[in-house]
């Protein structure tokens, strides 16, 4: 009797679609996170091919590949061999990662925050142009600016000796630290994430009641005191989350340090991880993965701890519609400076790629040629086989097709999952399962892409049927991009009152009809944004996939292949292709449906 009662309760629990969704996603996500983490832990205690050779020769052991050992950890953290092994392979990259992330977060929040303030609070000119173009660097692949940096500042005195635009036009050779190393890495990452900070901070500023600042004005506080005492403390939670998100992202970034770090012997954790892995020091590379994961988790905990509850926002509906803009002194000058800066951040890169892909001799603009685009015969003169011009190169088309297909599938999976998770969480709001689901769905954000790729590589070494498959790429990308989709899906669903769906239940509409005919259309632009962001992120992704697939599968891995081998015309051309695709997809979707990257992140 009691048992019957229990099974009845279980049955009735699962007749509600929201319960099914919450439980199903919890199971899928937990298994996709817990099992991989277990694998990494396991593999970090297992020696790889080169690991074993190294330990054996150092300590006179007889370890074989696959044996259990704590040496991976002790070697990497404390080992002294050929001077200071642990310092050059672990502590120094870690220190570099941290420094780079700190600088980049500072730059991103400062630049993004100032632009957000200018757009929402001041009477700066060309607002539409600025807010539209300022998000370009975020929409474009992160290495875009790194590549531009190289295109402009590389010179015959440093690195590979490729001649950049500055030298070829003026003859000036900037010093090595300016071209490669922590300076360009931090700057480029900072500018790449500035729009992200702008979207988050701008969203808060737009939602923040302007009366809060006016109340201080009336009480005779000056502009600076208002910003310091009122505006900043109120946006502080958003500011801190932004810093932490940017910090985690920068920690994880691989492409930028590869482009403008490694050539100057500047290594960070992610680039070192890759280097160790590809030289078969797999045990040590997994230790590094673990460290990256721990840093990510630490960031989340910090985020939760910092955002106190007591001072939370009191949202009283008011008419903050009447915002009076701050009059800028020297408005025109500031506006023009902004536009010029934007030109270099957002528009110039596109020209630069086009130009570089047209140079027969790198940096020599008298040798313009269309052959890297149009040649129907294999291009010669490089130490590797380059193949035909970009537009007629079957390998490039295959990689591009692969990227497009992958992005499409991933965006469908992620967008739909985000919508469903949003539905489940909003229906069950307040329940423990819903809170757990929304946290678990956000968790992958904290695991750096490179570590994430490495985790799933570990999984595929156990589950061999996954190894190198398209399915593995879809799985990895879907989980990695779920955080923002589930976040924006949840916030969009939360804005709908339960009565909207109940009205449809009463007239007898089945669940599928309620979803497709009622809920989805009402918040169409938000939900479509949930599809757009993963598509854009996926097509420009490199670090997530670089360990999991061969260079010919995806357009980004192919780009990296050409760049690492110094075939800059091809890498620039391919980059131009990616940037254009991303921009076109973004703007057509935006025009057709009102969806936008901002909404995908959860801004307004």
């Amino acid at each position: 009797m009691a048992k019957n009662n229990f099974s009845n309760r279980v049955l009735s629990y699962f007749t509600k679609p929201s319960n099914v969704i919450v439980v199903a996603f919890l199971i899928i996500l937990l298994s996709c996170i817990v099992y991989p983490l277990y694998s990494v832990l396991n593999l970090s205690l297992t020696v790889g091919q080169m690991d074993s050779l190294m330990y054996n020769s150092l300590f006179g052991l007889h370890l074989k590949k696959g044996d259990f050992s704590l040496l991976n950890i002790t070697m990497l953290m404390f080992g002294k061999f050929e001077k200071d092994y642990s310092i050059s392979f672990f502590w120094s990259p870690l220190w570099n990662s941290i420094r780079m992330s700190v600088y980049a977060s500072a730059i991103a929040v400062l630049v993004g925050g100032i632009v957000a303030w200018l757009i929402t609070r001041s009477d700066i000119k060309y607002k539409k142009f600025i807010s539209a173009v300022f998000v370009f660097p975020y929409i474009m692949p992160s290495w875009t600016l790194a590549l531009v940096w190289k295109n402009v500042f590389a010179n015959s005195q440093v690195g590979t000796g490729v001649v950049g635009m500055l030298e070829s036009l003026t003859g000036i050779c900037v010093p090595s630290w300016f071209v490669y190393g922590i300076f360009p890495c931090s700057l480029v990452m900072g500018i790449h994430y500035a729009p992200f900070a702008y979207i988050l901070i701008g969203g808060i500023l737009r939602n923040m009641d302007a009366n809060l600042e006016e109340a201080a004005t009336i009480l005779k506080a000056d502009r600076w005191r208002i910003i310091r005492k009122v505006t900043l403390p109120i946006v502080m939670p958003a500011l801190i989350s932004t810093v932490l998100l940017v910090f985690s992202s920068t920690m994880a970034s691989y492409a930028v340090p590869v482009f403008v770090g490694s050539p100057g012997n500047f290594y960070v954790l992610s680039t070192m991880l890759r280097a160790l892995y590809s030289s078969s020091y797999s045990g040590q590379s997994y230790v590094m993965t673990l460290v990256l994961v721990l840093i990510g988790v630490g960031m989340l905990s910090l985020n939760q701890a910092v955002i106190g509850k007591r001072k939370s926002f009191t949202t009283v509906t008011g008419k903050s519609g009447q915002v009076s803009y701050v009059k800028l002194k020297g408005n025109t000058v500031i506006s023009v400076i902004m536009v010029v800066l934007l030109f270099f951040m957002a528009i110039f890169p596109i020209f630069s790629f086009a130009l570089e892909s047209l140079c027969e001799v790198q940096g020599d603009y008298s040798t313009l040629t269309l052959k890297f685009w149009l040649s129907r015969d294999p291009i010669s003169g490089f130490h590797i086989a380059v193949g035909e011009g970009i537009l007629f190169n079957p390998a490039i088309w295959k990689a591009l097709g692969g990227s497009l297909l992958l992005s499409l599938v991933v965006s469908l999976v992620v967008g739909t999952s985000g919508f469903l998770i949003g539905y489940g969480v909003s229906k069950k709001r307040g329940s423990r399962a819903a809170t757990l689901l929304s946290n678990v769905a956000f968790f992958p954000y904290l695991i750096p892409s490179m570590a994430f790729g490495s985790i799933f590589l570990a999984v595929s070494t156990k589950l061999l049927f996954l190894r190198g498959t398209f399915f593995l790429l879809v799985l990895v990308a879907s989980i990695k991009y779920l955080p923002f989709a589930s976040r924006s899906g949840t916030s969009a669903m939360m804005q709908l009152s339960g009565e909207i769906e109940e009205a449809a239940i009463i007239v007898g509409a089945p669940w599928i009809t309620r979803m497709t005919k009622i809920l989805f259309p009402i918040q169409k632009s938000s939900f479509i944004s949930g599809y757009l962001l993963p598509f854009v992120s996926c097509i420009r992704e490199l670090s997530l996939f670089v360990l999991l697939t061969t260079s010919g599968t995806l357009i980004t891995t192919l780009l990296s292949y050409f760049d690492e081998r110094n075939v800059v015309q091809m890498s620039n051309g391919i980059n131009l292709l990616i940037v254009l695709i991303v921009l076109i997809v973004n703007f057509t979707t935006n025009k057709l449906t009102g969806a936008s990257i901002d909404k995908g992140i959860g801004g307004n």
Binding site: N211, T217, V230, K311, T314, G318
Partner: protein
């Protein structure tokens, strides 16, 4: 001292005119309400006087000092106008405690710490919120937040206090209490209050003078009872008073300089004013407040009870006469069976005559032809 003067103040946003050519004089110590339907420009007017909004043209003076003049290029910032402002949504700073919220303005003025403590304690006492001093706004109810906002505004003792629908987020009972207290505060502080509301009852009960606006244009600026009994036009008459004034279509014809013959409700009347007036012959509108249509067995006009709405203290009776529905308000509880016959009279000398342009032409008595 702090008399406020608005001269030809206009505010435009693109092609939209929010406030048009407004002239207003607010006496020292007055309690003025800016009244009107939403979008009439009352909040914009208030924000312009406070300095939160810049007029497109005109001049504003506070206490004899020009704070804004488009001609002289003067625009003194809100911070330097020596005013207090109470926002509709209170605008309490969520990251500061009640104490810090109230002390903020005093700290800005560089008061000494003991003085600040004393003043804040005084304000907390006055508004009966001492026990909440160390709470955050999110931990207070709407009414308590409202009190904190008032304390914060009053702490630096502003000579002029602006309020933008400060009671609209409170429930009906609390709103009633706060009205009483605000009126009391006005008397205690002796400051000039300028108060924006769309609630005519609030304006009627609290103000010394009502400034009624419509679509950015001033309609009438008079004490509440004058606005009530002698509205300048049909819009004002309609906006003030609940239940609203009866507007009865009529035909008029002047018979002498103080008398006109009025045909309405299928009957003929003589409209008699105490002063001479002008009105064009033909269509016009007669305006009668519901309290001037008492129902009695001796009433000379016949109608039927359309519906009866007793509220305890008074009863609103909707009377059907021909195609016209009239409202009558009677003291006490009454109940008439639906569609039953009844009789009523037109009493008093405050019956209004509106001309074709809806302007009020005269007030007087309405005498039915025998």
């Amino acid at each position: 001292m702090p008399e406020i003067l608005l001269k030809n103040v206009t505010k435009k946003w693109g092609g939209f005119t929010a406030v048009e050519n407004l002239n207003l004089e607010i006496e020292d110590g007055a309690f003025i309400t800016l009244l009107g339907p939403s979008g009439c420009g009352k909040t914009t007017t208030l924000r312009m006087i406070a300095g939160l909004e810049t007029p497109s043209s005109g001049e504003i003076q506070i206490g004899g000092k020009v704070v804004f003049s488009s001609e002289q290029g003067i625009n003194i910032s809100a911070a330097k106008r020596d005013i207090g402002f109470l926002f509709q949504n209170y605008a309490l700073w969520p990251h500061m405690t009640v104490y810090q919220n109230i002390a903020f303005g005093l700290e800005t003025l560089k008061w000494k710490k003991p003085d600040i403590e004393k003043r804040v304690a005084e304000m907390l006492e006055t508004l009966q919120i001492t026990q909440f001093a160390h709470r955050y706004p999110s931990e207070l109810s709407g009414g308590q937040q409202q009190r904190v906002a008032i304390a914060r505004t009053l702490a630096p003792s502003p000579k002029v206090l602006f309020m933008d629908e400060p009671l609209s987020n409170l429930d009906a009972k609390l709103r009633g209490e706060m009205r009483t207290e605000l009126k009391r505060l006005h008397a205690d502080t002796g400051s000039t209050f300028v108060y924006v509301t769309h609630d005519q009852l609030e304006a009627m009960t609290m103000a010394t003078k009502i400034c009624l606006m419509k679509e950015g244009v001033l309609q009438q600026y008079d004490p509440p009872l004058k606005v009530y009994s002698l509205p300048a036009n049909r819009f004002v008459a309609d906006f003030v008073g609940n239940p609203t004034m009866n507007f009865i279509p009529a035909l008029v014809k002047k018979t002498s300089d103080k008398v006109a013959q009025v045909t309405m409700l299928g009957e003929k009347f003589d409209f008699v004013s105490e002063t001479p007036f002008d009105i064009a012959e033909g269509e016009a509108t007669v305006g009668i407040r519901p309290e001037y249509l008492p129902i009695s067995d001796k009433g000379e006009i016949h109608g039927t009870a359309y519906s009866t709405l007793p509220a305890g203290m008074e009863t609103t009776v909707k009377i059907k006469v021909g195609d016209t529905i009239l409202s009558s308000v009677m003291f006490g509880s009454l109940d008439y069976a639906t569609d039953s016959d009844l009789r009523f009279t037109i009493t008093g000398n405050m019956i209004l005559l509106f001309d074709r342009n809806e302007k009020c032409s005269a007030h007087g008595t309405m005498v039915k032809h025998k």
